[in-house]
């Protein structure tokens, strides 16, 4: 069902078409929109006029023209259910921090840079046209990082320089220009960038027929920029192209994926196999093969990593403005006095009140990291009590070092797991389901000690096994092709794994919730670091005994300990790609705040309980949507 009121924040560089692409899907699913646009640009005023013409439905589209200082005001309005922000990275980050714990959801679409990968089997002249489309025209949103294979470096540079010389810049309405101007602010930004690059020793080439007045800036080609210089780390502004060489396709992927940005990229190669290999390997939201900048409203457009994870266009664009039916409108749980610096920092000590009475329990479980049980760094364990207060067992207390080790192990296991075919992944999940059923009596008896009736406990174990099987089967259906008007050739909507997924399980349903969260994450190719239920982690650890024999090392890692402390470590970790948190309201707020570090997508429960045994909430399509990310792969055809 639809989300409600959307607050949309648009940057000054957007064209009318791009604004429409974000507003129309929201209106189409039934949301109403309040758009905050920057002052002093004519395009938003056209938007405002348009909204005025919506006579029969006044108020569905509202336009406010105001400066950036109004952004937090709009975002914290009580009636807004979702804030969609499009703009620069740092502002997006600040907004993420300030909206932590607020009533509204946040979607970010950041950055304007794109990438062009030119191999030695490309049609270089056409690739040069692609560069013009990407950076030296009015169609491209920002600058371009250009990666050229070393063997064709000289040829490519020569053609680029020739082509640059023929570009004309001028007022947009003159029929014979290639590019216009984008305002004084953009001009300042690019001047700073170019000066900085020159002082770092880069070669800067500018050409073209450009007026010398202020807001006009000539097309610029920067080469020999040392990779370690600060210029090479920040986003490339319009109209700059930063060119760097690479030797092999493998190196190209490393260089291309070696930035925090993940917007869009194009691959130029006439060898189909190589082009697809590179296209699949790039960590971006959109890949064009032998083309650049193609767009269509039916194709999802978005990014990953620090380009934000919100989408527009296609089915993903619609999901942005929808939430699962039955879920309540967001509750505000802002805790104004939540101290982000001290949350989860110190681990409360768990010294026993008095000597333990009763039979000595089994030796303490370790942490399940890298495919085996190991002792925690802090060398301490804490007791777990059952529903009658007796000692049920000891579990290890994990800390920051253990989290670090777990994330490393998960990263090591990731390439192998993501490279498995869906059938192989399904087979492993089915094997785990069978192992769970063999272990039913042990698991059921542990659940009984936690106060669950025997029948219900057995049902829980069976349901867990069923869920594993269901997700294994579901993942067989991979991406599908979209039909794009005006393009000959397919556009694939791929569903790719996120990477390493951190999951903090809820206290209730210690077995079912654990399995319900693990299954979709693994099914879609992610590797997982889990913090199991704090009340009874023993069930998760029982499952780990089977995972130790069945799963590759590092695929699923389970770390027990103080939930807040471990949450803190995971949320602040820069190399965790996404986080699911089902703990307290305060923890949710912290997780949302901390995710601003690497802008990882988070899914937090805000302290609301979830009916894990119901299909809709425990195994619904929402889990599948959140467990993977989309990539649009364009394949124009023709010979």
């Amino acid at each position: 069902m639809r989300t409600g009121v959307i607050g949309l924040i648009l940057p000054p560089t957007f064209s009318f078409l791009e604004m429409m692409w974000r507003i129309c899907p929201a209106l189409a699913v039934g949301c109403t929109v309040v758009a905050l646009v920057p002052p002093a640009s004519p395009t938003p005023l056209l938007l405002a006029q348009l909204s005025g013409e919506l006579g029969p439905f006044p108020g569905i589209l509202n336009v406010i023209s105001g400066s950036a200082s109004l952004v937090p005001v709009l975002a914290s309005q009580p009636g807004i259910q979702k804030v969609a922000f499009c703009g620069a990275l740092e502002e997006g980050r600040a907004l993420r921090r300030s909206l932590a714990g607020e009533c509204a959801e946040l979607g970010l679409a950041l950055g304007t840079e794109s990438l062009l990968l030119l191999t030695d089997t490309a049609d270089i002249d056409s690739a040069v046209e692609g560069v013009v489309d990407a950076a030296w025209s009015d169609r491209g949103p920002g600058g371009l990082r250009l990666l050229i294979q070393e063997s064709v470096w000289d040829e490519a540079m020569r053609r680029l320089q020739e082509r640059m010389g023929r570009l004309r810049s001028g007022r947009g309405l003159d029929g014979a220009v290639d590019m216009g101007a984008r305002g004084a602010a953009a001009c300042d930004l690019v001047q700073r960038f170019v000066r900085e690059a020159q002082s770092q020793g880069a070669q800067v080439l500018q050409a073209g027929d450009v007026p010398s007045e202020r807001p006009f800036y000539p097309p610029t080609l920067v080469s020999n920029l040392p990779p370690a210089s600060p210029c090479a780390q920040v986003e490339v502004p319009w109209p700059v192209v930063v060119a760097s060489p690479f030797r092999t396709a493998k190196e190209a992927l490393l260089v291309a994926n070696g930035t925090p940005r993940g917007g869009s990229a194009s691959v130029w190669s006439e060898r189909l196999g190589q082009a697809l290999e590179l296209g699949y390997g790039l960590q971006v939201g959109t890949v064009w093969i032998n083309a650049h900048g193609l767009r269509d409203p039916s194709v999802p457009t978005g990014g990953c990593k620090e380009s934000g994870c919100s989408w527009h266009g296609g089915p993903d664009g619609l999901y942005e403005y929808l939430r699962p039916s039955g879920t309540p409108a967001r509750l505000s749980c802002l805790s104004k006095n939540l101290n982000y610096d001290t949350f989860g920092l110190a681990v409360p000590s768990t010294l026993p009140a008095g000597p333990e009475i009763g039979p000595s329990p089994a030796p303490p479980y370790g942490l399940f990291i890298g495919g085996r049980f190991q002792a925690p760094g802090a060398r301490s364990s804490k007791p777990i009590r059952d529903s009658s207060g007796n000692l049920h067992g000891y579990v290890a207390e994990g800390g920051a070092k253990d989290i670090r080790g777990a994330v490393e192990a998960a990263h090591q296991a990731f390439p192998g797991w993501a490279g498995q075919s869906p059938g192989a992944r399904a087979a492993l999940l089915w094997a785990l389901a069978a192992a769970l059923e063999r272990r039913k009596s042990t698991l059921a008896s542990r659940l009984e000690r936690q106060g669950v009736e025997l029948k219900a406990a057995e049902a829980e174990v069976e349901l867990s096994a069923r869920r594993l099987r269901a997700w294994g089967a579901r993942v067989q259906a991979q991406g599908h092709t979209l039909q794009v008007a005006g393009l000959r050739g397919p556009v694939l909507r791929l569903r790719e794994p996120l990477g390493v997924l951190a999951v903090v399980c809820p206290d209730e349903w210690p077995l079912l919730a654990f399995v319900s969260l693990l299954a979709p994450a693994l099914a879609y190719g992610n590797t997982v670091v889990t913090v199991p239920s704090a009340a009874c982690p023993l069930l998760a650890l029982e499952v780990c005994q089977d995972m130790a024999t069945l799963f590759p090392a590092g695929l699923a890692n389970v770390v027990t300990g103080d939930r807040d402390h471990l949450t803190r470590c995971l949320a602040l970790h820069q190399d965790v790609q996404a986080m699911w948190y089902f703990g307290s309201a305060q923890g949710s707020q912290f997780v949302e705040w901390a995710s601003a570090g690497n802008l990882k997508p988070v899914w937090a429960s805000r302290g609301c309980p979830r009916a894990w045994d119901q299909e809709a909430e425990g195994a619904g399509p929402e889990l599948g949507l959140r467990a993977a990310r989309t990539k649009a792969l364009w394949l124009p055809m023709g010979d």
Binding site: I124, S126, E129, G175, A176, V177, E270, R488
Partner: protein, 275 residues
């Protein structure tokens, strides 16, 4: 004509390394028509320039000395005198680049041009035009006879069977096609040819000319062709020695546009002299 192509050793590896991505070339072809529109007096100037590139052509089965004579006169006076006077271009010697006829009509053409007092070259199609499927001996004899009659340029039809088996010849100009095919001069093909000309120039220093022919009928198209050559090769190629447009009805459309620019009205069919 520019200096003859001195030729180079045939190096087929140049050809095998070339990659052409068809969809990308199609996209560029669409853009080129939309992004360089000229208006008003600049358009008039470009149109007059386009006239100087035309190889005014008549290649019909029923050509006789009378229509050849009319054609040659039109080549000497392509635009009506008073229109040129209004643009102050009447004394710049604006003629078409050449006249292009069948070998049997070369004599007539030379005679007509002499009578008109015009020294533009006569180009002849030869070598079994348009199919090229005649004996080598007769093809060479055709060229010799045409040159004897006074033709100074020859449009040679290459032997396509040799092409398809990889046996290549050299030339001073490359032409898109005979003009008698179903699909003739299109922008995507031209883009690839122009890029090849530029690459050849970078590799050897030889400048090869380019001639699109067939299907160029409107003045707007001709402007697009001019801007394509300007963008891909530069101003050096915008000379009759390196660029020709093979056309017959194009000239009248250009004349109509000039008429409209000068008078502000649209001409009737009979207002402008036939070619």
């Amino acid at each position: 004509m520019s200096a003859h192509n001195r030729g180079t050793e045939l190096d087929l590896s140049w050809i095998s390394k070339i990659q052409v991505n068809h969809p990308a070339v199609l996209r560029r072809a669409e853009q080129i028509q939309a992004r360089r529109t000229v208006k008003k007096e600049w358009q008039a100037a470009w149109l007059l320039k386009a006239v100087t590139f035309i190889d005014l052509t008549t290649l019909s089965g029923d050509d006789t000395s009378s229509n050849i004579q009319r054609l040659c006169y039109k080549a000497k006076y392509p635009i009506r005198e008073d229109l040129l006077k209004a643009l102050n271009m009447h004394d710049k010697g604006i003629t078409t680049a050449a006249v292009c006829v069948y070998p049997a009509r070369v004599c007539d053409a030379v005679k007509a041009l002499k009578a008109a007092g015009c020294n533009i070259p006569v180009a002849s199609v030869a070598t079994g035009f348009p199919a090229g499927q005649t004996h080598l001996k007769t093809r060479l004899e055709e060229i010799r006879l045409a040159v004897e009659d006074g033709a100074t340029e020859i449009d040679v039809v290459i032997n396509r069977s040799l092409v398809l088996t990889g046996q290549w010849e050299g030339s001073d100009f490359i032409k898109t096609s005979t003009g008698k095919e179903t699909v003739n001069a299109t922008f995507p093909v031209a883009i690839v040819m122009l890029r090849a000309i530029r690459d050849f120039f970078w590799k050897t220093g030889n400048k090869i000319g380019f001639k699109p022919a067939g299907g160029i009928r409107s003045a707007k198209d001709s402007l697009a062709w001019l801007s394509l050559v300007k963008e891909e090769l530069g101003d050096e190629w915008l000379k009759p020695e390196l660029f020709r447009i093979g056309a017959s009805t194009l000239l009248s459309d250009i004349e109509r546009q000039i008429y409209h620019h000068v008078t502000g009205r649209y001409a009737a069919y009979h207002d402008l002299p036939m070619s």
